[in-house]
């Protein structure tokens, strides 16, 4: 199976970095998928070329039952960057278990992976 292809794989990897792998979770699945969708928006702003052709939808539907098998429409080279965004975005929430510096580091990592080769 390809790494980081489906929503479920993104959630699993993000939970490892968030240290939130045991239920009950601190971060609900839907909350993390919202972060994923916002990450796709950010990636679309920074690197429109990753979403060619540009007339197709890029969001993961969070209405109703979450489809964990849904594929995330981004090139495999940039999948780790999206995980960093999910983790950074989730940790922006005021939470005693996280720090702003860690969140900022993940967000910066996301941006630099999209825009810089040696990142």
């Amino acid at each position: 199976m390809t790494a980081l292809e489906t929503v479920g794989q993104y959630l699993k990897e993000a939970r490892v970095l968030l240290q939130d792998v045991t239920p009950p979770y601190r971060y609900e699945d839907v909350e993390l998928v919202d972060c994923l969708n916002i990450g796709l928006l950010e990636a679309r702003r920074l690197r429109a070329d990753l979403f060619l052709p540009l007339n197709k939808g890029i969001f993961i539907d969070t209405n109703g039952t979450l489809d964990r098998a849904a594929k995330v429409p981004i090139d495999e080279m940039y999948r780790p960057a999206l995980v960093y965004y999910i983790v950074g975005r989730a940790q922006l929430r005021d939470d005693e278990a996280t720090t702003d510096q860690r969140s900022a580091a993940f967000m910066t990592k996301f941006t630099s992976q999209l825009l810089v080769i040696n990142s």
Partner: protein, 200 residues
């Protein structure tokens, strides 16, 4: 198109433009090839158009996967004829064909470029003749690199490299345009005795 030939070009580009996606590569390669053919007239096609009495308007046959850029000339029974083209593929003869004239077809020469349908279909084969991939490999490589390096805010942005490869692309395109005008023959004499037109 020979996909093997295209793959050689794509493999070269992937290693020189780290972080680029295949969709983006295909789009820019298509744009470069389209610009190249439209400026150089290097892809030419000649076809017979059978004439009908008193009919002045004809449709030019176009190979699959190609579009006509411009007409290169037309002749009838070995003699140049006057005509006008109405894009994309209609030709208007200035003289109405009469009975003796329709015994011979008009030989129509056009320059071609790649059809945009191929991009819409995301097909791998643009039906470009294989010799083009060999002959124009370097020009297309430089053209694509110039476009990528000149993009703003991308991992591969590099203005110095963009200028370098753009110059090479322009120079190579100019050379290929001259070659195409001379029928890809080296050192053609510049002038012939004017049986018809004079200058070659």
């Amino acid at each position: 198109m020979s996909c093997d030939q295209a793959e050689r070009l794509l493999q070269t580009l992937r290693t020189q433009i780290p972080g680029v996606t295949d969709d983006m590569l295909n789009l820019q390669l298509f744009n470069v090839i389209d610009e190249f053919f439209r400026r150089t007239n290097a892809w030419q096609h000649y076809d017979d158009i059978p004439l009908q009495e008193n009919i002045q308007q004809y449709v030019i046959p176009v190979p699959s996967g190609a579009v006509i850029v411009r007409a290169m000339g037309a002749s009838h029974n070995g003699m140049p004829i006057t005509f006008q083209m109405s894009p994309p593929d209609l030709v208007w003869l200035f003289h109405q064909p009469d009975l003796p004239m329709i015994e011979h077809p008009v030989v129509m020469g056009v320059s071609l470029s790649v059809a945009k349908d191929c991009m819409a279909k995301s097909c791998d084969c643009w039906e470009i003749p294989e010799w083009c991939w060999n002959s124009f490999f370097q020009a297309w490589l430089d053209g694509v690199l110039a476009r990528f390096y000149s993009m703003p805010a991308k991992p591969w942005s590099n203005s110095a490299q963009a200028v370098y490869h753009h110059k090479r692309f322009r120079n190579l395109m100019g050379g290929h345009k001259q070659e195409a005008e001379k029928g890809f023959v080296h050192s053609l004499p510049g002038w012939n005795f004017p049986r018809v037109g004079g200058w070659m």
